[in-house]
């Protein structure tokens, strides 16, 4: 076990898989010699060679399309989309091709591609370096969509994604790369050294895709969060000093509705927190499923805390970002406390 930040954990996952399986390849913009703009693949080309870790032309649709073909021909490509905001040129290949290949060939062609995409804000990235498009992909049947919130989960989930014979869209909240972030940008940035999820085994381990984690048990209210918002939520709960159950959803598809429903049926209250825009955000699906499974146990309306339905702004980043203030307001409202 070593201390790792999220970048190191992701790097370690790819290192382990490149070592273990000669069919695993890494490709994307600047991932080769340079090691990626976030350094997640640093040194991997030197270690495994240019045939296995290589740069691509700047054409997301092109390298995702090519990765699909590689997967059909027996390889296990891991592609990096430099920022999740750049994933849209590849949307046709992801939604119409990668997601449906197995189905349209009745199980005879498939492509086990993993797509890594740094997402989310809090880095002064403006509207083209801050988006959280997970709901768009969670909506597409045939894809699996995950978003870890810490180094330990990130490594286990990425190894599972690479080993999975179905395509996985793997979102990495980039504000968490170097340390947990509770939403207070004025505080000194933390690193993963003091966080228990910064302890990461150096070898191979997996974390099943489709399992939520209860981070904190409680009886008064259930809070569903994922990605950066997990840390904002935990800090909010602490500040408000309430007996909340906090669940890190981790996987949008498949969704661990059993863990979620058991919790909400127990607490009777539910707040959903995500960074993405609200309208048709993944919180809408969570809210619908909680309502379907827990309606008779609910004591208050389900409330969503999200980014506003605007493009992610630059100067107004912290007015957009759903920080502790917004979370606490929703918790008070749902718990009917002043």
């Amino acid at each position: 076990v070593a201390r790792m930040n999220m970048i190191q954990a992701l790097h370690s996952a790819m290192d382990v898989m490149l070592e273990k399986d000669p069919d695993v390849l890494i490709l994307g913009e600047d991932v080769g010699n340079f090691g990626g703009v976030f350094r997640c693949t640093e040194g991997l080309q030197r270690k495994y060679g240019e045939k296995r870790v290589f740069d691509t032309p700047i054409a997301e649709g092109g390298f995702v399309g090519a990765a699909i073909g590689m997967g059909v021909n027996g390889l296990r490509p891991v592609v990096e989309i430099q920022f999740a905001d750049y994933i849209y040129p590849a949307f046709d290949q992801l939604a119409s091709e990668l997601a449906r290949l197995r189905s349209r060939s009745a199980g005879t062609f498939w492509s086990p591609v993993t797509v890594r995409a740094p997402c989310g804000g809090g880095i002064r990235g403006g509207q083209t370096h801050s988006q959280s498009p997970e709901a768009i992909f969670a909506h597409v049947c045939g894809l699996k969509t995950v978003m870890p919130s810490n180094p330990y989960d990130a490594k286990g989930l990425l190894i599972s994604a690479i080993e999975d014979d179905d395509p996985v869209i793997f979102f990495e909240p980039k504000r968490l790369y170097n340390g947990p972030f509770d939403g207070d940008h004025k505080k000194v940035a933390l690193n993963w050294n003091d966080h228990h999820k910064g302890e990461v085994p150096e070898g191979h381990y997996t974390m099943p895709i489709g399992q939520a984690e209860i981070l904190r048990t409680g009886s008064d209210i259930t809070i569903l969060a994922y990605g950066t918002m997990v840390h904002v939520t935990m800090a909010s709960v602490e500040q408000l000093n309430i007996d909340a159950e906090v669940i890190d959803v981790r996987s949008m598809m498949p969704l661990d509705i059993d863990t979620i429903a058991n919790s909400v049926c127990k607490t009777g209250r539910c707040v959903i927190v995500h960074e993405a825009t609200r309208h048709c955000g993944f919180g809408a699906e969570l809210s619908a499923q909680v309502q379907e499974t827990c309606f008779w146990n609910l004591e208050a309306p389900i409330v969503r805390v999200t980014g506003w339905d605007t493009p992610y702004p630059h100067a107004q980043e912290w007015a957009y970002f759903p920080g502790q203030k917004r979370v606490i307001k929703a918790l008070k409202q749902t718990l009917a406390i002043a």
């Binding site: 390849l25 045939k51 691509t56 032309p57 054409a59 649709g61 092109g62 390298f63 399309g65 090519a66 990765a67 699909i68 073909g69 590689m70 997967g71 059909v72 021909n73 027996g74 390889l75 490509p77 040129p89 046709d92 290949q93 119409s96 091709e97 290949l101 197995r102 189905s103 349209r104 060939s105 009745a106 199980g107 005879t108 062609f109 498939w110 049947c141 045939g142 699996k144 014979d165 179905d166 489709g210 598809m253 498949p254 969704l255 509705i257």
Partner: protein, 404 residues
């Protein structure tokens, strides 16, 4: 050769007049070494590689000098494709099929290219290359089961008729989203290079679909990684109702290769021998590690885009009759007769044999389910292939369906 920009072949209501087609005479175009630099042979894109002349002789440096049995095999596949297409159209008109897409006039593309490949080469077709399946000896009843989405459909009813998929003969699952297979084919070829085998990928797109980004991705990526792939643009002049000038056919589509450092060959798509020869050229280049070739197959879509289309609304009804490059089937037949390896009698016999085969195939396929009464694949099949293992939410939805 006319160096003016090509115009639309014709417009609805206009007289047919195929001007500015940039035709070359049979045998006129030189055949460079397979390992030539793209820039050194860029003129090939503005010529038209042809082997069969008006007297049915094979002439010039591109003559692949094929054994007569290969020619007869090619003729058989082309004829089977045409008979199959005609029969399926009839079935559609009788209401026994919901939808069909013919490849009439373009049979040489599938037949000649498929025969010039190895069985292990992966084919990434569009919906107008059904001839590839027949050339890889897939029984016609298999295709018909797919068209009927009946209980014998190997795709279990998951796909629109004509969107075939057949992993057994390395025929990739056809997609309705145009050109996506182009960049996938390049990736498949990149994997072949990585694994060190000598298989290549061969992909097709229409001239209309060449405007899609994937066409350009494929050229960029195959050029950068020198992938063993053959990239074909079937220029059949028409993308549903829009002529090839709307797709950007100001210069020949083959000419797009040069800018990417990829040889662009422009070939008479109705000339079996020429199509075979350029495919062989590209395959040799690819297998030797010299990378991709862009081939423009210059042909004509003789029939409607699909059974949902009415070409009389946008082009003269008899336009194909005036196509200066003729009928690919007839041209190969006449060549075989000319070299004394075929006769009208043999042709009549073959016609009868294949007709009977297709009629029988229809009956066999329909015995596994017809359009109106089935039997069809299980209704729950739609849940079976979304993921490798069915997730819980799909298991629940499947159960809900069963309880409906």
């Amino acid at each position: 050769m006319n160096s003016k920009n090509p115009e639309a072949t014709s417009k609805s209501g206009n007289q047919t007049g195929f001007k500015n087609l940039r035709l070359s005479n049979a045998g006129e175009v030189n055949r460079p070494d397979e390992f030539s630099e793209a820039v050194d042979i860029s003129k090939l894109a503005f010529n038209l590689i042809r082997v069969l002349d008006d007297d049915h002789q094979a002439v010039g440096p591109w003559d692949p000098e094929l054994a007569p049995r290969i020619l007869r095999n090619g003729l058989r596949h082309m004829l089977l494709t045409r008979i199959f297409d005609d029969r399926m159209l009839m079935m559609q008109r009788q209401g026994r099929l919901s939808f069909y897409v013919k490849s009439t006039g373009e049979e040489a593309v599938s037949a000649a290219q498929c025969l010039a490949l190895k069985p292990d080469d992966m084919m990434f077709p569009t919906y107008r290359q059904q001839g590839l399946l027949l050339a890889r000896e897939v029984p016609p009843q298999e295709l018909i089961c797919q068209l009927l989405s009946n209980s014998g459909d190997r795709l279990k009813g998951m796909q629109l008729p004509v969107m075939y998929s057949n992993a057994d003969v390395n025929f990739f699952a056809i997609s309705g989203t145009l050109a996506t297979q182009f960049s996938q084919a390049v990736g498949w070829a990149m994997a072949s290079t990585y694994k060190g085998d000598d298989n290549l990928a061969c992909a097709w797109v229409g001239e209309g679909g060449s405007a899609e980004p994937d066409f350009h991705y494929a050229l960029t990526f195959s050029s950068v990684y020198k992938s063993p792939v053959i990239l074909n643009v079937v220029n059949n002049q028409w993308a549903i109702s829009t002529d090839q000038s709307i797709a950007g056919g100001r210069y020949p589509f083959a000419a797009r290769g040069t800018g990417y450092g990829i040889p662009g060959l422009r070939v008479d798509g109705n000339d079996f021998l020429a199509v075979y020869a350029v495919t062989q050229w590209a395959a040799k280049r690819a297998r030797a590690g010299h990378g991709p070739t862009l081939i423009e197959l210059f042909t004509y879509r003789a029939d409607a885009h699909s059974t949902s289309d009415d070409p009389g609304k946008y082009r003269p009804k008899d336009e194909w009759k005036h196509w200066p490059l003729g009928d690919p089937l007839d041209r190969l037949k006449q060549h075989l007769i000319y070299i004394d390896e075929w006769s009208e009698e043999q042709h009549t016999c073959l016609l009868e044999e294949l007709n009977t085969m297709v009629v029988k195939a229809w009956e066999e396929a329909e015995s596994l389910g017809n359009l109106s009464d089935g039997p069809w694949p299980p209704t729950t099949a739609m849940f079976d292939y979304v993921y490798k293992e069915m997730p819980v939410h799909l298991q629940k939805q499947r159960q809900e369906l069963l309880e409906e």
